[in-house]
């Protein structure tokens, strides 16, 4: 149903092309990991999927073309993007941030808030606090919670582990996995922390200078020592 099929996606900024024909598929309710070094175009890829940058080619969710629509239209269609830097509204309270996540809906917002506290109990006592006063880990939880408020069909996560302590990151990925299993949300997660991302994903794709240079099951990519060394920069 909510299968994501990206084919021959080209995108960039003004004259500068960043993505040169990217193709991959994330199955319904699965997690796809996009790995790759800094500057490979991972953020740009997610921006193209959520309409923040224009792209050519095709991006289909459940068979429906997403390319060419504005970000707010795509949000209405169930694409939730947790951007690089989290996009937290610092001066607003935690609750206001969460309610903004459900901006496209008027009904069922309170019930959804309760659902979010289920995943992130730490947020509940901080509802009336300014989001800017949260720790980095809590802010990432808030960003994820805010994205869930949309009741997304497709969840895009841009380097959720950035700047977080290892323990917090592991907890975060555990929650992403739980969300994916319980809500059957299709997830695309961009990461430099390949190890953790491969731990929760079914499929993984390695992006280098705007091209997918390797695709495979997460298990296979993790097992392939040569891949690990040449593309992911770590030893297994």
């Amino acid at each position: 149903m909510n299968e994501l099929v990206v084919s021959e996606l080209h995108a960039g900024y003004g004259g500068a092309q960043v993505l040169h024909g990217v193709s991959f598929t994330v199955g319904e309710g699965e997690i796809g990991a996009i790995l790759g070094p800094n500057g490979a175009g991972k953020t740009t890829l997610l921006r193209a999927l959520s309409g923040m940058v224009k792209g050519r080619g095709s991006v289909r969710l459940d068979g429906v073309e997403l390319l060419g629509s504005s970000p707010d239209t795509l949000a209405r269609r169930g694409v939730a993007h947790v951007p690089e830097g989290r996009g937290t509204f610092m001066p607003l309270t935690v609750e206001e941030n969460l309610r903004l996540g459900a901006y496209v809906r008027r009904s069922g917002v309170d019930a959804d808030l309760d659902r979010i506290y289920g995943y992130f109990p730490a947020l509940k006592p901080r509802l009336k606090q300014a989001a800017g006063s949260l720790s980095g880990g809590e802010q990432q939880m808030l960003a994820l919670g805010r994205a869930l408020m949309l009741r997304p069909r497709l969840l895009l996560l841009d380097e959720p582990s950035l700047g977080l302590a290892p323990l917090v990151t592991r907890e975060l990925f555990r929650i992403v996995r739980a969300i994916n299993e319980q809500e059957r949300t299709t997830v695309v997660v961009v990461e430099q922390n390949a190890h953790l991302a491969l731990g929760i994903a079914q499929q993984a794709h390695v992006l280098e200078t705007g091209r997918i240079v390797l695709s495979g099951t997460a298990a296979r990519i993790r097992a392939d020592e040569q891949v690990a060394q040449s593309y992911l920069g770590y030893r297994v």
């Binding site: 959520s50 309409g51 923040m52 504005s70 970000p71 707010d72 795509l74 949000a75 209405r76 694409v79 939730a80 993007h81 951007p83 996009g87 937290t88 509204f89 610092m90 001066p91 607003l92 206001e96 309610r99 903004l100 996540g101 901006y103 496209v104 008027r106 109990p121 730490a122 509940k124 006592p125 901080r126 009336k128 606090q129 949260l134 720790s135 980095g136 880990g137 809590e138 939880m141 805010r146 949309l150 977080l164 302590a165 290892p166 323990l167 917090v168 907890e171």
Partner: protein, 347 residues
């Protein structure tokens, strides 16, 4: 004592509950009670003042309310939605003329002119906002400035309707006999009533879904958009609402002064208003009131200090305030109140 303090700090934060939980709502309730008390006292003083002051001072307070009304609108646009306008005075003028023309031509009752002025300003704001709000930053500032610049010659040009450079002289609303009020007191209470309704409206608007959308746009446009907030729609709406309040201010201004002419609405008005809201406190509820006091009294004070160059003194005072209180006078007052509360609690 710990090999990785960062990680423990983060992880306790994620699982924490209890301790901070109880304190937060109580502190909030304290703040709310404090606010209501201040608002109540202010209102009492506002009702009491016109019976204690000489007519000229009552008139000055009335003008403070008029400016506060205009700044309320500007605060919505600049402080809450994060968009710049150098043409707010133009909507003030539109409200003034939308009041003056029906009064002069058809002798309509004064109260009827309020919805007319607010409505005309709102619609004009909508019409101009639609294209203007697709622009950002400096371009938006220039376009709104252009609106303010072109208005004066336009008003002079359509002389049969606007009275040209001579302007229009109008009757002021007369106090009903049962009130026993003098004219200046009656005008003051009219302005107070309009201002109270407007502040209530704006507060309601900002607490709603619309308010959240405006704040989101101000804080992070791109993030707001990926959450489904339609930028052009809300920016245009904020522009139109800000015009509506400016229009209402122009209307009350016309009631109070009983005269309009193009030269009352030159570009300086727009710039003074923008300076007023920045000095008063952007995005703060009390900001428009502090800004209005500044706009009303500081130019005349600067006139007293130096007759030759009041503009220079005014400018220097703005710089001084921004240096001492970067979040505006409202922020300064808030900080003063906080430290006062702390001292009281300790003592």
């Amino acid at each position: 004592m710990n090999e990785s303090p960062v990680s423990t700090g983060e992880s306790t934060a994620t699982v924490s509950s209890g301790s901070a939980a109880g304190a937060v709502p109580r502190a909030r309730a304290g703040v709310a009670r404090w606010r209501w008390a201040v608002a109540g006292l202010l209102l009492l003083a506002a009702v009491y003042a016109p019976f204690q002051l000489v007519p000229f001072h009552v008139f000055q307070l009335t003008m403070v309310l008029v400016y506060a009304l205009a700044l309320l609108g500007l605060n919505l646009l600049v402080g809450h939605a994060g968009q710049i306008s150098l043409g707010h005075g133009a909507f003030f003028a539109v409200g003034a003329y939308a009041t003056a023309i029906p009064l002069a031509r058809w002798d309509v009752p004064h109260l009827v002119t309020l919805p007319i002025a607010a409505g005309v300003a709102f619609l004009l704001g909508l019409a101009l906002g639609l294209p203007a709000m697709r622009l950002r930053g400096l371009y938006l500032a220039l376009v709104t400035l252009a609106i303010a610049i072109f208005l004066v010659p336009l008003l002079k040009r359509f002389e049969e309707v606007t009275g040209g450079s001579m302007g229009l002289t109008l009757p002021k609303p007369a106090p009903p006999a049962w009130t026993g009020l003098a004219e200046d007191q009656w005008l003051y209470f009219l302005a107070l009533a309009v201002a109270l309704v407007a502040f209530g409206l704006a507060a309601g608007l900002l607490r709603s879904r619309v308010g959240r959308a405006l704040h989101a746009i101000r804080d992070n446009e791109a993030a707001a958009e990926v959450m489904g907030v339609r930028l052009s729609y809300y920016k245009t709406l904020a522009f139109a609402w800000s015009a509506l309040f400016a229009g209402a201010a122009g209307c009350v201004y016309t009631w109070v002064i009983g005269f309009v002419s193009p030269d009352s609405f030159v570009v300086t008005l727009s710039i003074t208003l923008l300076a007023g809201i920045v000095v008063g406190g952007l995005g703060s509820q009390a900001g428009p009131l502090f800004g209005a006091l500044f706009v009303m009294f500081v130019p005349s004070i600067s006139q007293d200090v130096n007759k030759a160059a009041p503009g220079v003194i005014f400018g220097l005072l703005i710089i001084a305030v921004m240096y001492v209180a970067p979040t505006g006078l409202a922020g300064l007052a808030g900080r003063a109140a906080d430290s006062l509360k702390k001292t009281l609690r300790k003592g």
